[in-house]
C-alpha cells in the first residue's frame, strides 16, 4: 500500500479568500505547516498538544462547525495515524491534521469545546485504537459487544484471522 503524501500546492497566504484567511490567522500560531490543496481548503498540521487550544479558538471565533473527524492509517511503514478534524464554513473547509504513532496514540478530547464530537471520538477509539483523553464516553458505538479487545478494523494490517 502506497504511503505517498498527497499532491499539495502551497498557495501564498495572500491568495486565500477572506473566510479561509480568518481561519489561517486563527490556527497559524500552532500550525507547523499550512497548505492549500484545493482553492476552498486549508490544511494545517498541528501538534496533538495544541489541538484543544486551536479548536477552542475556532469555536470562540464561531468559525464553521466540526463536520467530522477522519482517521487515516498512513501504513505500517510510516507507522503513523493521522486524525483529520474537518471544519466547514460555507464552501470552505479547514482541516486540522494531527499525527500520532500507530501504537499507543493519544489525542486530547475536543468535547469540551464541541460536545457533539463525542460520537466521532468514540468511532476513532474503536476503529483505530487511539486513546482519547477526557472524552465523556469511550464505550463502543458501532462494533459488536463480542468484538475482541485490541483489534481495530480500520488499520491497514487488520485481518480476519485476528477475530478467531
Amino acid at each position: 500500500m502506497s504511503t505517498s503524501t498527497p499532491e499539495q500546492v502551497t498557495t501564498p497566504t495572500s491568495e486565500l479568500n477572506p473566510n479561509l484567511q480568518t481561519a489561517a490567522d486563527l490556527v497559524t500560531n500552532h500550525a507547523a505547516e499550512t497548505t492549500t490543496p484545493e482553492p476552498n481548503r486549508l490544511d494545517a498540521v498541528i501538534d496533538a498538544a495544541a489541538l484543544v487550544d486551536v479548536v477552542q479558538a475556532l469555536v470562540d471565533a464561531r468559525w464553521g462547525y466540526l463536520s467530522t473527524i477522519t482517521g487515516v492509517d498512513l501504513g505500517v511503514e510510516a507507522d503513523q495515524l493521522e486524525m483529520l478534524y474537518h471544519f466547514c464554513e460555507g464552501a470552505d473547509i479547514l482541516t486540522l491534521r494531527v499525527r500520532v504513532p500507530r501504537c499507543g496514540g493519544v489525542v486530547p478530547s475536543v468535547c469540551g469545546a464541541i460536545p457533539s464530537a463525542s460520537m466521532y471520538e468514540r468511532e476513532l477509539i474503536e476503529m483505530f485504537g487511539i486513546t482519547v483523553t477526557d472524552t465523556p464516553n469511550a464505550e463502543r458505538l458501532f462494533l459488536p459487544e463480542d468484538w475482541p479487545d485490541g483489534v481495530y478494523p480500520l488499520l491497514k494490517d487488520f485481518s480476519m484471522d485476528q477475530l478467531s
Binding site: T5, C88, L143, P148
Partner: protein
C-alpha cells in the same frame, strides 16, 4: 417503588421495535410517562463498507457506497463520483451533471414523502401515512422509468451517468411533478392546520438556533431551527452551480417546523426539476475516466435529503482508494435526539426520533464481519424447515 427502582425503569426502543424500521437501540429511563434519561447504541447494521472500499476498485466501490442507504442511495454515489472525478482531474459533461441533480432531486422528493408517512405513522395518523405513501409511488415510478430501478438507482458512472432523459421521460416527469405539487400543497395544509396532529407536533422537541449550532445538526433538522445550512447553497456542486437553490428555513425549531421545512423543500425540488428540464444541456453523457487515480485526497460534500453528506477520499495511484470516510447526516443529528428527549413524554419519543429522519443503515456503515469462528452455510428450504422443526421440539 423506591426512587432507585424508578430510575431503573428503562424502556427500550429497539433494536427490534415497531417504531423503528431499521435496527437501532435506544433506552429511555422514564418516571411515569416523563423521560429522564436517554442513551443510544448503534451498529446493528454494520456492513464494513468503509473497510470494504479498501479491497475494491473505484467502480465497484461506487456501487458499494450507493448501498450505504436505500433511501438516499443516489447522493452517496454522486458524492463519491464527484470526489473521484476531482481527484482524477476529470469533469463529467454538463448533461450528466444536470441528470445527476435531476435524479438527486427526485430522490429527495421520494425521501421526504417517505419521511412524511413514517413520521405521521409514529404519531398514529395513519391516514396521512397511507396517502403520502400512495402519492410517493408516482415519484418512484418516475425513477424506475428513468434509471431502471426503484431503489439504488445506479444512475451514476464514474465520469458521467448511465441514463438519459428522453422527451418521453420529460413529459412523464412534468406530469408527475404537477400532480405531486398539488398533493404537496395539500399536505402542507394538513400538517399546519390539523388540530389533532398539531397537538403532537407543535412545541414538541424545540431546539433553539444556539442549541442547533452547538449540537452540530445538519440538513432540514438544522434549517427547522433557523440555521441556514445547505451544501447546495453554501458550496454548489454539479448542476446546482447553474441552478441556485433557495434555502428554506423555519424558526420555531419544533416538530411542526421540521414537518414544514421538509414539505416546503419539496416545492423547491419541483422548481429545480422544472428548471433543469427547461435548460437541459445537450451533449455526451460520459467522459473518459482513467482506471487509476493519481495520489491525492479530496473532500466531497453534497446535500442528502437528511443533510450534509461528507466524503473524504484518499487515493494512492492505484485503482483502489486508500481511505474513504463517510460521514452521513444522521450521525450528527442523532445526538440532538438524546439531548432533546429528557423532559418530554415517552409518547413523544418515536416522533422525536422520526423528526430527524434517522437512517440507521447510513449511520452504521462500517464494520461487520461474520461472528468470529462462525461459518457461512447455504441452506436449502428443506434443511431450514427441518431445523425449525427440531428447534421447537
Amino acid at each position: 417503588m423506591t426512587s432507585n427502582q424508578l430510575e431503573n425503569f428503562r424502556i427500550p426502543i429497539g433494536p427490534q421495535h415497531p417504531a423503528l424500521k431499521e435496527p437501532g437501540h435506544f433506552e429511555f429511563a422514564v418516571d411515569g410517562e416523563t423521560v429522564t434519561d436517554a442513551s443510544v447504541r448503534l451498529g446493528y447494521v454494520h456492513r464494513g463498507i468503509e473497510k470494504g472500499t479498501e479491497g475494491r476498485n473505484y467502480v465497484q466501490s461506487m456501487y458499494l457506497l450507493e448501498r450505504v442507504c436505500g433511501i438516499c442511495s443516489h447522493v452517496h454515489a454522486t458524492a463519491f463520483a464527484l470526489g473521484v472525478e476531482r481527484l482524477a482531474k476529470v469533469e463529467a459533461p454538463p448533461r450528466a451533471q444536470a441528470i445527476r441533480v435531476l435524479v438527486g432531486e427526485l430522490e429527495r422528493i421520494h425521501s421526504h414523502m417517505l419521511w412524511l408517512g413514517v413520521a405521521a405513522h409514529e404519531a398514529g395518523f395513519d391516514l396521512l401515512f397511507m396517502y403520502s405513501w400512495r402519492d410517493r409511488e408516482t415519484v418512484m415510478n418516475l425513477l424506475e422509468n428513468i434509471t431502471g430501478n426503484r431503489v439504488n438507482y445506479s444512475a451514476n458512472l464514474l465520469g458521467g451517468v448511465k441514463c438519459d432523459i428522453t422527451d418521453q421521460h420529460e413529459q412523464e416527469i412534468r406530469t408527475g411533478i404537477d400532480f405531486l405539487e398539488e398533493r404537496t400543497a395539500y399536505y402542507l395544509d394538513v400538517v399546519s392546520n390539523d388540530a389533532m396532529f398539531l397537538r403532537r407536533t407543535r412545541g414538541i422537541g424545540v431546539m433553539s438556533p444556539e442549541a442547533a449550532e452547538q449540537l452540530g445538526v445538519v440538513g432540514p433538522t438544522a434549517r427547522a431551527s433557523g440555521v441556514a445550512r445547505d451544501v447546495r447553497v453554501d458550496a454548489p456542486y454539479a448542476a446546482y452551480v447553474d441552478h441556485p437553490v433557495n434555502i428554506v428555513t423555519e424558526t420555531a425549531g419544533d416538530l411542526e417546523a421540521r414537518f414544514k421545512v421538509r414539505i416546503k423543500e419539496l416545492f423547491e425540488s419541483y422548481r429545480l426539476i422544472r428548471a433543469i428540464l427547461d435548460n437541459m444541456p445537450e451533449g455526451d453523457l460520459t467522459t473518459r475516466m482513467p482506471r487509476r487515480v493519481k495520489p491525492g485526497e479530496t473532500i466531497s460534500r453534497v446535500e442528502a435529503p437528511r443533510g450534509e453528506l461528507f466524503y473524504y477520499i484518499k487515493s494512492n495511484g492505484t485503482d483502489t482508494a486508500d481511505r474513504v470516510k463517510v460521514r452521513t447526516p444522521t450521525l450528527p443529528n442523532m445526538g440532538s435526539v438524546l439531548a432533546l428527549a429528557v423532559g418530554h413524554q415517552f409518547a413523544d419519543m418515536p416522533m422525536l426520533l422520526a423528526g430527524i429522519d434517522p437512517c440507521f443503515s447510513c449511520n452504521d456503515r462500517m464494520v461487520s464481519i461474520n461472528a468470529p469462528g462462525g461459518d457461512t452455510q447455504q441452506w436449502t428450504w428443506e434443511q431450514l424447515r427441518q431445523y425449525g422443526i427440531e428447534y421447537y421440539r
